[in-house]
Amino acid sequence: MSNSDAGSPAPVVNFDKLVQRLDDAITALDESRAFAKPGKLPRLFDTVRRVLLQPGGSVAIQERAEWIEKAGVFWGTDWADPSILLPSLTTHSLQSPYADTVIIEALSELRLLAVARGDYLHESVSAEQAHHYLTQVLAINLNMLFGESGEAEREQGKLALISRGVVQHVAKQIGYEHVIDRLIEEIWRILQQRPIQVNSVRQMITQIALCRVDPNVDLGGAGQGAERLISSLYGPTQACREDPGIPVYEERLQSMDSGALQSEATGFARSMHDTGLVSPYHAAFVSYILEKQDSMLTEALGLSSTGRDCLLCYKDLVHELIREGVFPETAQGLYGLALLLERGILYQPPVAPALWRQARLSICAEARERIQLAYGYQPQPKAWLIQGVLNMLGQPLGVGQGNNPTCQSARALSMWAYNDPDYLLQMVAWAARDNEIIMHFEGQPVSSAASRGGVASEVTLDLDPVSLVVVPHLDRIYAEMGRMCINRPGDPHEWVNPEFHGWSAGRGFRINVDVATGQLEDLETFLRHFYASYHPYYNGNQPLIHPQPAGVAVTDSAARFIGWHAITILRVTLDPEDTMRVYFYNPNNDSGQNWGDDVVVSTAGKGERFGEASLTFEQFASRLYIFHFDPLERGEPAEVGVDELERVIGRVHRSWGRDRLPAEVLQAEPPREG
């Protein structure tokens, strides 16, 4: 830090005077009447901003943290209650182009630092909690500690200096060792969900690797656990242990005997299945053996007997896909290929020919441009798209929506990849080759080319190659279908969901919110019906056949309503502890979320498969607001126990349903004690 930023803060500033101004601004806020406090904030914020731009600014603010908070700077904001703050949101605010957002976040961090250091006894957060929180903040904002500045920071201008300065100051006081270990845990937690998009994970691992070799950073004993992560990218086997570079590695391959090659193959496969990450050396290796010893492919992909059978049946196709799609840059496709083979979906008659089409697909200019913008010019867009297809078919639950409001489209892609792979391949072909997708809504064709625009004004580039090409089309079609329902009473998902996702989405539809008023509606019948349709104890022990679209009310860690969100219900079954759980897919990029009121979505350790999220049936039911069912199979409302029902309803009323109680419910319920 000391040499990188030297000279940028103008030295002419009289720091003592500036701090005096700061004290004046805090005093003005402190002595102000509550109703007039908002008017005093701009001056304080601007002064804090100037102080933080100076060397020693963070210290000056940290010393005054208690005074600043008690003066009322956080009143009426989320920051007022530090116990509900989410570390993951700090990145967004610290990288904001708006000075006030950066400043209030910086103030909050420095306040918690004062708490963590024991200088400030806070009434709602302990020193340990503050320390824990800051550790996570550091882990998530590690790029501000070490990384190069990105586009977001360029947009931010001088504000980026403040964010970096504050994060670096916090790191110095908290200690780097805490950050690194926490970051490693975080990476493992994400990898357990086996996302398709692993760019940010790769970046984080790269940063840890850089940090470990940087003599200026004292990691203490930390960072040992990063070994497996770093090696999975930069040296998973004996012959590339020291990250020699692809050309050197290829030379080494030339001189290896079959025993050595064999051990390379198993080394790659073990590392890949261990982390879900694929090293570029792995791609170089596979390309090499494809020419000389293709029998080793089974080991190199780490296949079981199922996958091996499939590989042997469709050897030419697999070779073609590797030759056209697997390069060091697109190495991640190997993991998708391995899982695709394991799933046995090549045995479905249309899938193999559809993949042949994919391997030779000519890609239209628009799709090329998007892929090149996101991934660069090397290798060809076609290779990226093949990688994307392999990963999507291999990891259908690893699809993420990126930073886009397009959960519906991501869910559809995931559902097709899971359930209807040749249909997905058809969609990819239409979008990538023809730049148009046509779906039908109640018999009427809906074209993505003729649409007036999607839900998202612009689909960002932080997506896997398939989503990158297909989502803009799906999003427009989805929005268009919504427009075709404008004059119908009720919620448009009732008609749009089955038409959009396919025949297997149930035509029966239930919602527990009155669309016109936003109030809860007939919650009890809704729940009884949900139990009757999905809960094995009430539906004749029938496992769910097709994944079903559903809608949840997402709440934050304080159980406050955030928004409606599309998910897929995949399975309902007993977990290892014999509790009934709903396993579902969440198109959000990280499913592990705290929805408040003890509802914490689990992603591993409760019987989840890769990419699945899960909640107990009761907890899930308490956040559900839309589900589909087969109207012909509709049973009687389930005789769910009163206690269980009350628990679920209680959870609804304590969270997103808090402000949605219809008047008669309030009257019908006598005030309870406690």
Binding site: A10, V12, V13, N14, K17, R21, D24, A25, S32, R33, A34, F35, A36, G39, P42, R43, D46, T47, R50, Y98
Partner: protein
Amino acid sequence: MSEQKFDSSKGYVALLGWSLNAIEAADKFDRRYVVVAPDWAETYCQEHDIPYVPWNFERLNDRSVEIAQTLKDMGVDVAIPLFEETVEWAGAINSVLMDQPKLFGQSLLLRDKALMKRRAQLGGIRVGIFEEAHDKEDVVRFLKRVNQTLLKLDGDPNDPIHLKAFDKAGCLGHRVIRTPDEVDTIPEEEFPVLMESHLDGWEFAVEAWVHNGKIAFLNISEYVTLGYSVFVPATPDLEYYREQITREIEKLIKTFDIEFGFIHPEYFVTSDSTMYFGEVAYRPPGFKVFELLERAYGFNAYQALIMTFDPKTTEEEVKAFFPKEVVDAKGYAGCFGVYPRRRVVSKLEMPEETENHEYFESHELTAPMEETVTKRTAFGTHWGLLYFFGEDPYVMRDLLKHQEELDFYV
């Protein structure tokens, strides 16, 4: 939340108009108060427990007496205008509350720039040449006549004339006209206007608190550039005229028969030390001079306002409240109004030289809402103020002047 503890032996005041700074000052002061404001303020007042009476000042009809009666029934002693638009309301209400019908007439006088000049002339106060204009022809005629009087020949550059709305505060609607062509740029709806000859000289403003017909505190505000910047106290060069200015203000108080409250007149002093009266307002000045005074002297100017309006205030309290002019100031406080200089702007960017200057205190600029800057007609409204504070009046003056050459919006 109002946390006020008031002294019941002192007066009960009504603040006319919505000003959060004034309300807060009142809440921290020892007079019982009530805010009279349009009904959009109601929720806010209820939420924060601020004493409040709804009133729509734009509605003038035969029910207007109701507000005076309401306040009288509440036991209010005096109404204090916070904005130009509430000056005659205060006059009307106070004439009822205090049973002094002349207060209403006085307030009308103070609301109309043409009437006020005539009254000043009658009181023996020097004013420039002025006239009312009802249409563009009047303006052209006045421009020609003023320049003929100045013995200009055809082709000589004209001396400009100033056009001002009769009843608007400060620089709103203020235009400078130099040629007959420019007259065409005046929209019809701005008429009628007041026209004045241009006086080459030094323009300044005075803030004077009046109690029992005498000056309780007199501040001279130095304009660096009219419409851009002001600071208090003034430089010694302008304070040199304090004696003379005080006599002028006493004349003004007598002419307008002002017994209490606060006046905010503007003057020119020409190179031969002659004072010309510009106009006078019976309400707090714009451009946050009250805030500057608090910064420089430490007293709250709104509380001073409340005190000098309150009929129950004693001589002793007034004496004890105010500091001694100039000598008691801790430094010089100034502010600068920012106007974007470019036609198209995308963001707010404080120049480093301003931000890092040791006199710079804070700013209240916000990011631009629109990219295209509306062309400034007349003097317009600034986009926000910068505040400065320091020890040397000349550094302050030059610093404020220099800001005019900087871009804050790029």
